[in-house]
């Protein structure tokens, strides 16, 4: 549908895995037992007051810094007022004007095409508790009663708001994946979508191509995987186009992604949405982030995923290999060490992305629990390029090495997989076979190439299959036509 251009902005919520909650001392790392990690503050009991958690502030500053944001010198907390049973104070401490981080950007890549996505703001807030609706539907409508668990209430929550710079579901997924990688690289959150420690809301609209103004948007919620982010946005784009092409208008509203049915459904229209009556939180002082603090954040910045990818490409990895290596510290280290030992980067990369990854996946294990070392990989590459191993034999050898049977040399020898690529050794066998098969040699000399294959087969048989077939073939041709 080339007449329409989708415009997408994404709000990402990330729960920080700090030692304690945002405004009290309750541990964030709580078990399954409901309402055990709670205190007067996160339960919103009368008289309780919030005190901001420095570790959480450092976490959000690290995220903002990694997203190339400006870290605001003076930042304010606000109260966002709305009534909901799992929001203990019936207001959420959040940020409004003067968020901690503003004006950043990241680059995302879809099929080798990079796009820059602007980051409007990154702000700090507190998470709500969980409503567990009891009854058939599992949703609030039709629930018989609702249980409340406040363990999550007050967990530090970072909201990353993108500019509406995203133009396709593919880009949206790439953006979501990149934010997830960055957050994980910073070590501030495990960013697990299935468990809700990372959540996406997408603002989706479409407009005729070539038009600059924005169409009416719908906010889509409840995507708990990158795949469903992609699916929900794709669905929503199609739905809006269908509405518009049918002569209708898109309604400004919040829509719920239904994973099972693969559709979005209307939750509430924005016109009737609440007025949050934001005002500055009087229980907390303005946060002053001085230059020394900003400098400390910058100096602690780890190598970010994009930098990692660029580093692997520089070492000689193909782009796709670099992306895979950047996502796995184990594999990345393996690659870097093997290449540092002098092994060919492309070959090492191919082995890692091919056989090694396949083995780890099928054996459901990690590299440190296998027998493979960077030296082994270098040895394997060398044996393959010298002809000592055929490509088929090399795969078998690598599996043996991974299984802990020893070095490639050891495995190849034990499994009798080493090729004879020593020309003089093969020459003797070739000459012996030619001497025994004078007829065939004559035919070749008369210009009939057919017996070559037969003679090669005889040589292979005589060498027990270990001679390099390419060398055998060359020698047979040369000597028979001699």
């Amino acid at each position: 549908m080339s007449r329409w251009e989708p415009v997408i902005g994404i709000e990402t919520h990330v729960e920080l895995q700090t030692a304690s909650k945002m405004f009290c001392g309750c541990p964030v790392d709580f078990g399954d037992e409901p309402n055990t990690s709670v205190c007067p503050v996160c339960l919103g009991l009368p008289g309780a007051l919030p005190v901001a958690n420095r570790e959480a502030i450092e976490g959000i500053l690290a995220i903002g810094d990694a997203l190339a944001c400006t870290l605001t010198e003076t930042s304010l907390f606000y109260r966002k007022n709305y009534f909901y049973p799992d929001l203990p104070k019936n207001y959420q401490i959040s940020q409004y004007t003067y968020p901690l981080c503003v004006d950043g950007h990241i680059e995302v890549d879809v099929d080798g095409e990079p796009t820059t996505v602007g980051i409007t703001r990154v702000h700090m807030e507190e998470d709500t508790g969980k409503s567990l609706h009891q009854g058939d539907s599992g949703r609030i409508h039709g629930a018989e009663h609702t249980l409340l668990d406040f363990n999550r209430a007050g967990v530090p929550l970072v909201e990353v708001v993108s500019e509406p710079d995203i133009r396709s579901p593919d880009q949206a997924r790439a953006y979501g994946a990149e934010i997830q990688r960055i957050v994980r690289a910073l070590g501030v959150s495990d960013a697990r979508l299935e468990e809700g420690s990372m959540r996406f809301d997408a603002n989706v609209s479409v407009r005729p191509e070539g038009v600059d103004t924005l169409g009416t948007r719908a906010e889509v919620k409840n995507m708990n995987s990158l795949r469903s982010l992609h699916r929900a946005i794709a669905y929503e784009i199609d739905r809006q186009i269908e509405v518009l092409e049918g002569g209708g208008t898109v309604v400004l509203e919040t829509r719920h992604w239904n994973e099972d049915r693969g559709v979005t459904t209307s939750m509430r229209s924005k016109e009737e949405s609440e007025d949050y009556r934001y005002f500055q939180e009087p229980d907390l002082l303005p946060l002053h982030i001085d230059e020394a603090w900003r400098q400390a954040i910058r100096s602690q910045r780890p190598i970010l995923p994009a930098e990692k990818r660029a580093g692997y490409v520089e070492l000689g990895a193909a782009a796709a290999t670099a992306a895979l290596l950047a996502d796995s510290d184990d594999l990345g280290r393996l690659f870097t060490a093997a290449v540092a030992d002098g092994a060919d980067a492309r070959s090492v990369g191919n082995w890692i992305t091919g056989e090694v990854v396949a083995y780890l996946r099928s054996a459901d294990t990690t590299i440190d629990r296998t027998g493979l070392t960077p030296e082994h990989l270098g040895e394997l590459v060398a044996m393959t390029s010298s002809g000592a191993l055929s490509s088929t034999a090399a795969k078998e050898v690598l599996r043996g090495v991974l299984a802990g049977e020893g070095s490639p040399q050891t495995v190849a020898e034990e499994r009798d997989l080493v090729q004879i690529s020593d020309v003089t050794a093969i020459e003797d066998a070739v000459e012996a076979v030619l001497a025994e098969n004078g007829d065939a040699v004559d035919k070749i000399r008369q210009g009939d190439a057919k017996p070559v294959g037969f003679l090669v087969g005889q040589v292979m048989k005589a060498t027990g299959g270990k001679a390099d077939p390419k060398i055998v073939q060359e020698l047979v041709r040369a000597k028979a036509s001699g």
């Binding site: 009368p46 007051l49 009534f83 203990p88 207001y91 934001y278």
Partner: protein, 494 residues
């Protein structure tokens, strides 16, 4: 002094150390006094006999073990306003919505009092959620003024003020958002202090308007007030707005006099709308201060004209959010409904009194989209101007003074149906809440009807030492020795 309940804290503390009497005896004298006065005054919502008895026994044990134990409130019976959270002791803020709520924790002030060995006698009455100036807006009935039970004790800390005035507590604590300690102190002939914002932790104070609320003492003397404040003041890790630096020495300069100090009389708070008898008492006090060597100058704080209006936007706005947590979900009253929203609405409708509902509605409106700038935003700008006026004034004078309340105690019911008239009760006290600076009220005399008149001393932020120094001179000069009568009607035997 024939009755231990009439001692000052400083004298009682000396008596305890001299073993002239025990903390248990002191408590029993206090409880006897309460037994005589509670039936007609209703200063207390809860008297915690068991807790108080245990604390008094512990104090006696401490004194026996370590005669040198110098905790200034050790064994002293004190009363806490019922919006101060106390572990295991019902805390209602005088609201139906918190009826029966026994908090699982102690607020910082209560915790410091317990650590200080004080004997917490009970929880005192207040205007519901501290919203009011007469202690009539209590879901549990009004408190009466011991000087004349047909009048109000002021509010919202009227319970603590009445208890201290009559001796059913030796010292009391209240909270002051717009005058809620100073105005009842003025109306009951006691000393009431609103410290610098942040000097006393608000952790465990049921919030009315967070940027204005401040805990402070009610006492019979300036010296007692300084002692009561010193025990609860100081940085608290549980209150992000609490002050972290060195504390003013509250009682360090009580005898230093006022020779050479420049005292500014705030024109806007000392003229129109103030009772003539109150003005006369203020003038007499100024004359005495002048006699003591102070330089009296006239000062203008022009923005204070708008302070009352700004206050009645800021305080309700903050309270609309602070009171949102009373929703029937986790604690307190719950009134059923078909949906959660209906349950919450029904609970709040039934649990909040009319003044609370009025202020929540006012505040919600003031914060609403489209109205924010005209109301809340504008009020914040006034607040900035008020602060600036004070700062400018303190470039020229050491302290500022004014009457505490425009009138003496007014009859019960007189302003109950006229919120604006009631709001005007705090016209002299509200500016210091907006500026965050300390202020206190000291009794300086009685009007023709025998009701106490208070005098307000205001000081720059953290200027408590200077404020108490001037207050001590006011106290000496006024020589206010009158005492509220113990009973006017029936006397209930202990």
């Amino acid at each position: 002094m024939s009755d231990l309940a009439d001692l000052t804290i400083l004298d009682a503390s000396a008596g305890l150390r001299a073993r002239s009497f025990s903390a248990v005896e002191l408590l029993e004298a206090t409880l006897r006094r309460a037994a005589i006065t509670e039936s007609h005054l209703h200063a207390y919502l809860t008297i915690d006999r068991n807790g108080a008895r245990a604390a008094a026994e512990a104090a006696d044990a401490a004194l026996t073990e370590h005669g040198s134990d110098d905790r200034p409130l050790l064994g002293i019976p004190v009363a806490l306003k019922d919006n101060m959270v106390t572990r295991g002791v019902e805390t209602t803020a005088s609201s139906q919505i918190l009826a029966g709520w026994k908090p699982p924790y102690d607020g910082t002030a209560a915790a410091r009092l317990r650590e200080g060995g004080a004997v917490i006698v009970g929880k005192t009455n207040l205007d519901e959620f501290a919203m009011g100036s007469s202690t009539e807006n209590s879901a549990y009935g009004p408190t009466r003024n011991p000087w004349d039970p047909d009048t109000v004790p002021g509010g919202s800390s009227g319970g603590s003020a009445a208890a201290v005035a009559v001796g059913s507590a030796m010292g009391g604590y209240g909270s002051d958002t717009g005058g809620s300690i100073r105005q009842p102190a003025s109306l009951t002939g006691t000393v009431g202090v609103k410290p610098t914002y942040g000097l006393v932790s608000r952790y465990g104070l049921i919030a009315f308007a967070s940027s204005l609320d401040q805990i402070g003492p009610v006492a019979r003397t300036v010296g007692d007030a300084a002692t009561l404040l010193e025990v609860v003041a100081g940085w608290d890790r549980y209150d992000a707005t609490s002050y972290r630096g060195d504390l003013p020495n509250m009682s360090g300069s009580l005898d230093a006099g006022v020779e050479g100090l420049r005292i500014g009389v705030v024109g806007e708070l000392s003229g129109d709308g103030i009772d003539t008898e109150v003005i006369a008492a203020t003038r007499a006090t100024l004359d005495r201060l002048s006699d003591a060597g102070a330089v009296i100058v006239d000062v203008s704080l022009p923005s204070t004209e708008y302070a009352l209006s700004a206050y009645y936007l800021i305080a309700p706005a903050e309270c609309s959010a602070n009171l949102a947590r009373f929703d029937g979900v986790r604690f307190g009253l719950r009134v059923g409904g078909d949906t959660t929203a209906e349950m919450m609405a029904a609970t709040r409708g039934a649990g909040f009194g009319p003044e609370v509902i009025r202020r929540v509605l006012l505040g919600t409106y003031a914060l609403s989209a489209g109205y924010y700038d005209a109301f809340y935003g504008q009020a914040q700008r006034v607040r900035t101007l008020v602060r600036r006026d004070f700062a400018t004034a303190y470039e020229d004078v050491d302290v500022l003074v004014s009457p505490t309340s425009p009138t003496t105690a007014f009859p019960i019911g007189a302003r109950a149906t006229d919120p604006i008239a009631m709001y005007y009760s705090d016209v002299c006290t509200i500016p210091s809440n907006l500026s965050g600076d300390p202020a206190m009220s000291i009794p300086v005399g009685l009007d023709a009807g025998g009701l106490p008149i208070g005098f307000q001393v205001m000081a720059p932020a953290l200027g408590e030492e200077l404020m108490f120094r001037v207050a001590a001179e006011v106290e000496r000069a006024a020589d206010f020795t009158a005492r509220a009568p113990l009973a006017t009607s029936e006397v209930v035997a202990p």
